[in-house]
């Protein structure tokens, strides 16, 4: 399990990255993260939405309601240009941290 702090810090890049693959909705994002982490990273479902809303408030995401096959409405999120730039910055920063730690531990940086 990741520590609370690291889990908290990784939410944003994770969401940005997932949405960079194409627009998505809450449950799909959650499932994707579950699949990726293999259970290492787990939040309460309810905490994802305030994060999404905050990112939307900041203009990183935009949302739209779509009708799904089941007939229910779903809120889809997509990256804005600002969001894409934010993702680039996140990427660089995480790579830097990865490289630094790798050097210290004598490993090959794998994120590159």
């Amino acid at each position: 399990m990741l520590t609370r702090e690291l889990a908290g810090a990784s939410v944003r890049p994770l969401i940005l990255s997932i949405l960079s693959e194409g627009e998505s909705y809450g449950y799909a994002i959650l499932s994707r993260i579950e699949a990726l982490s293999g259970g290492v990273l787990a939040w309460d479902d309810g905490t994802l939405y305030p994060v999404l809303h905050r990112m939307q408030n900041k203009g990183l995401l935009e949302s739209s309601w779509r009708r799904a096959d089941t007939g229910r409405r779903r809120k889809y999120y997509a990256l804005t240009d600002k969001g894409r730039r934010a993702l680039e910055r996140e990427k660089q920063q995480w790579l830097q941290v990865d490289a630094m730690l790798a050097q210290l531990w004598g490993l090959q940086p794998r994120l590159t």
Partner: protein, 892 residues
């Protein structure tokens, strides 16, 4: 077995608490519900039963509280992004309207409580405004000088030279000021002043004026502005004078006075004074007061003292401005060295080195409230009174707070239904606390407004009591802001507890109107009532003690008559005294005439006795003394213990005769004092009489040795004993007599008893103020009790009904209802009395002659407090006791 689980119903139940919370928008809810359904679908695919899937999904969604916090954090961002601020405000407005409506409804429904609360609060705040004005005025003394914080007065301490209870004197020698400026670099400027009353004339106009002699550096030290004239030269030359605008107008009307001459009348001679300027009059809150400033060089004694470098004669008040970086400890040690250097060389001090004067400095701003030296320029205030009144203000505030808290908590039950409904509809505890706090604050703001009105209308009375002329208009914004702040603080302090209590109730019981009163709540309320009455008891006892002491002072036997005795001042023509006396006695209403240097209520001359029979080497005695004329002892009704008094029939044979008091005899240890040789004021003589001790100073001081002797030229006051009838005619006769012999002087007289009472005027004033506020405090406390009693009686209506049906009499019910309060008041008295005893003892210590603090005072106070408390409770209790039990029992 078919499952009874219904997903839609479960979802609806899950959604309900989120719907009532404003934190989740409709969008949010739909999104969350969608997420929940998605999760349920996912879980069902993984093999979950629907019901289990639902519970698991809800569990995974997370704790309601943390979810709400998360959404709360992004709420305002959404409002901004989606531009829904208008709806937001609309909603808040609607809520506010609802709060106001319910508040007003509650207040209206219980207008009695509202009135009690509001009145108590307003009266308390009005008292605080008035006390605040008074304290602000007292603290404002002398602060108007630009360099106020750097101005210091130099004063002198004469070790061993006690006078009127202290060896510290405000007066200093003439060369001090110039020496300070010349030799101490940290002294920026210094000035000398000497109070002087002058009879000033221009043509027909003559006025006796109180002013100051001062050096021209007066204007460098103080910020009194010279409106006309040159600051550097105005007070340099002898016989120059600067007038205040008021005096200038009296003498010159509208003409420009500068450069003109006015006449100074002194001892029958006339001197010309040149007006060199006009100076602004000092404000009321200045310890330096004058109607004119004349050059100090006008005083020939000053010129002589300065020329001779006279350090052993102190008549002048020295004020200095210190540089900002001046070190006070250093200056103090330098002053000490200076005194040693200048006085140590003199023969007297070489023999008595322990008696060399010590010079001290005191800040200008301390003079009014903290200085108690001999010969102060004006009657000072007392910092202790400031503390007393601050304490009283805080106590009144406390009582008002307790009132509000008690009444509001008691009333909570009536609002229980409202709180319950709000809670069921989704109100948060925070919202409820906010609601009730705002209510308290609102009421307090109303209280503040009412208080300002009250204070404004009570101000004239307050001014009469304090002898000040305070106004509300001139107070700065800061003052009002602190008043409003005080109101808010009271509101919050007294609102917070009831708000917490009310918001804590469980809604289920509240909606039904059932509210169990915890023992805890009653205990807190009781504690507060006890605190209130303890405070009241302290104030009440203090008031009683002050009144008793003041009455004691006023009625106590000073040892001499004060009634129907006039002192008429005789500034000149003393050789004519025998004729004046004869003339005065022509009026049948004039019973006796004598004369004295000092007023018998204040014999403040003190000098060393040169020698006496049996004096040993090293013996010393300083005695208060006054020169008198024959008849003095009889006129005042002084009692002779031994020997004879000075009378005209029995003139003293050649040798000087002295009359001394018992204390002097006691100190000497003389068994047979009459005829003992005694030398005083350069007069060798003997003791011819012993007078019974009488209080010739003040009750604050012990009686000390006193010497009376006869001097035919040294007296300033004629004492006239008159009959009480037809006083105007008698006064007219006296005035006419004086006018014949002293045509240049106005007739100036006072009654001895008036003058005596004036000595205690500030004590009387404080006594009156304390009692007024004590009564106010008591009233507020009783108002609170009245409200509380009314409430509790209502609570027990049914109980009373049952008791009456079962045969309880009206008296039984009365006892039942008063019992609890009586117990509380008794506990309060137990707590309050020792405190009151301590405080009163502290105050009484200031008097050398004082009342004994006996139990009757405390019993009276206790009975009064109980009676007040009972009268507050009994009205309600009586009403309840008299009510028809049928009405009480029919309620349900």
């Amino acid at each position: 077995m078919p499952s009874r689980f219904n997903l839609d119903a479960a979802l609806a139940a899950w959604r309900r608490p989120l719907e009532v919370s404003r934190t989740f928008t409709a969008d949010d809810l739909e999104e969350l519900e969608g997420a929940l359904i998605d999760r349920i679908e996912g879980l069902k695919e993984a093999g979950y039963e629907e019901e289990a899937a639902f519970h698991e999904a809800v569990r995974r969604l997370g704790h309601y509280g943390s979810m709400e916090r998360g959404f709360q954090a992004v709420y305002w961002g959404k409002v901004r992004r989606e531009k829904t601020i208008r709806y937001e405000l609309q909603w808040r407005g609607a809520m506010l309207k609802n709060y106001v409506t319910t508040t007003l409804r509650a207040l209206q429904k219980q207008w009695g409580y509202t009135l009690i609360n509001l009145c108590g609060l307003a009266v308390a705040l009005a008292s605080i405004i008035l006390i605040g004005l008074y304290i602000r005025y007292e603290l404002s003394y002398d602060v108007f000088h630009d360099n106020a914080d750097r101005i210091y007065r130099v004063y002198k301490q004469d070790p061993g030279g006690d006078f009127l209870g202290t060896d510290q004197y405000a007066v200093t020698p003439a060369p001090l000021a110039s020496t300070l400026v010349e030799t101490f670099p940290e002294v920026e400027a210094a000035t000398l002043v000497e109070p002087r009353d002058m009879r000033l004339a221009r043509g027909e106009r003559q006025f006796s004026e109180d002013g100051l002699l001062a050096t021209t550096t007066f204007f460098d030290v103080f910020s009194f502005k010279l409106l006309q004239g040159e600051q550097e030269t105005a007070l340099v030359e002898p016989m120059t004078i600067v007038l205040t605008p008021a005096l200038a107008a009296k003498l010159f009307d509208d003409a420009d006075p500068v450069g003109s001459a006015i006449t100074l009348l002194r001892n029958g001679e006339e001197f010309d004074l040149t007006v060199t300027g006009v100076v602004e009059a000092p404000p009321e809150n200045s310890h330096i007061q004058y109607s004119f400033l004349a050059s100090l060089t006008t005083d020939k004694w000053y010129r002589r003292n300065l020329e001779r470098g006279e350090w052993d004669s102190s008549n002048y008040y020295t004020y200095t401005v210190l540089r900002e970086d001046a070190s006070l400890p250093l200056l103090r040690s330098k002053l000490q060295a200076l005194a040693q250097q200048r006085l140590g060389e003199m023969d007297y001090y070489r023999e008595n080195p322990e008696r060399v004067s010590v010079y001290h400095i005191q800040p200008l701003l301390d003079i009014h409230l903290r200085s108690r030296l001999n010969f102060e320029l004006s009657a000072n205030g007392d910092i202790r009174y400031i503390y007393i009144f601050t304490a009283i203000a805080l106590l009144i505030l406390l009582i008002a707070c307790i009132n509000y808290t008690n009444l509001a908590t008691a009333r909570a039950i009536v609002r229980a239904k409202e709180v319950g409904v709000r809670k069921v509809l989704g109100a948060h505890r925070g919202q409820l606390v906010g609601q009730f706090m705002s209510e308290a604050v609102l009421l307090c703001v109303a209280g503040v407004l009412l208080a300002i009105g009250l204070a404004a209308s009570a101000l004239p009375v307050f001014n009469t009591l304090t002898g000040l002329s305070l106004t509300l208009g001139s107070t700065p914004l800061v003052f009002w802001m602190s008043v409003v702040l005080a109101g808010l603080v009271v509101g919050m302090l007294s609102g917070v507890y009831p708000a917490l209590v009310m918001s804590k109730f469980a809604p289920a019981g509240m909606v039904k109107g059932v509210l169990r009163h915890g023992r805890g709540k009653a205990r807190l309320r009781n504690t507060l009532v006890v605190a209130q009455f303890a405070v009241t008891a302290v104030l009440l006892i203090a008031t009683l003690v002050i009144f008793q002491q003041l009455r004691y002072v006023q009625q106590a036997n000073t040892g001499f008559d004060r009634e129907h005795i006039l002192t008429v001042s005789i500034p000149a023509a003393k050789d004519q005294y025998p004729t004046i006396k004869e003339q005065m006695l022509q009026n049948p209403n004039v019973l006796a005439v004598s004369a004295t240097a000092h007023s018998p209520i204040r014999i403040v001359g003190k000098s060393a006795v040169a020698s006496w029979e049996g004096k040993q080497e090293g013996d010393g005695l300083a005695a208060y003394n006054t020169a008198v004329q024959p008849g003095f002892v009889d006129l005042l009704g002084l009692e002779m213990v031994a020997g004879i008094s000075f009378t005209e029939d029995r003139p003293v044979d050649g040798r000087e005769g002295f009359i001394v008091n018992e204390t002097l005899i006691k100190q000497m240890g003389w068994a047979e004092p009459l005829g003992m040789s005694f030398e005083f004021q350069g007069r060798p003589g003997r003791i011819i009489g012993v007078v019974k001790d009488f209080n010739y100073l003040s009750f604050r001081q012990e009686i000390e040795p006193l010497v009376l002797y006869v001097d035919d030229s040294w007296f300033y006051r004629i004492l006239v004993k008159v009959r009480g009838d037809d006083m105007p005619a008698t006064l007219g006769h006296l005035e006419a007599t004086m006018a014949t012999f002293l045509p240049d002087y106005p007739f100036s007289y006072s009654f001895l008893d008036d003058a005596y009472n004036r000595m205690y005027a500030s004590d009387v004033r404080v006594g009156q103020l304390v009692s007024v506020f004590a009564v106010i405090a008591m009233l507020i406390a009783c108002l609170g009790l009245l409200g509380l009693a009314a409430f509790i009686t209502t609570q027990r209506t049914k109980e009373i009904g049952v008791r009456k049906v079962l045969g309880a009499s009206v008296a039984d019910v009365l006892v039942l209802l008063s019992k609890d309060f009586t117990r509380l008041v008794l506990i309060a008295l137990l707590i309050g009395m020792p405190v009151a005893y301590y405080v009163s003892t502290l105050w009484l210590q200031d008097f050398a002659y004082r009342i004994a603090l006996g139990w009757p005072t405390f019993v009276v106070a206790a009975v009064l407090t109980l009676v007040l408390a009972w009268s507050a409770v009994s009205y309600q209790a009586f009403r309840a006791a008299r009510s028809n039990p049928v009405d009480a029992l029919r309620q349900e």
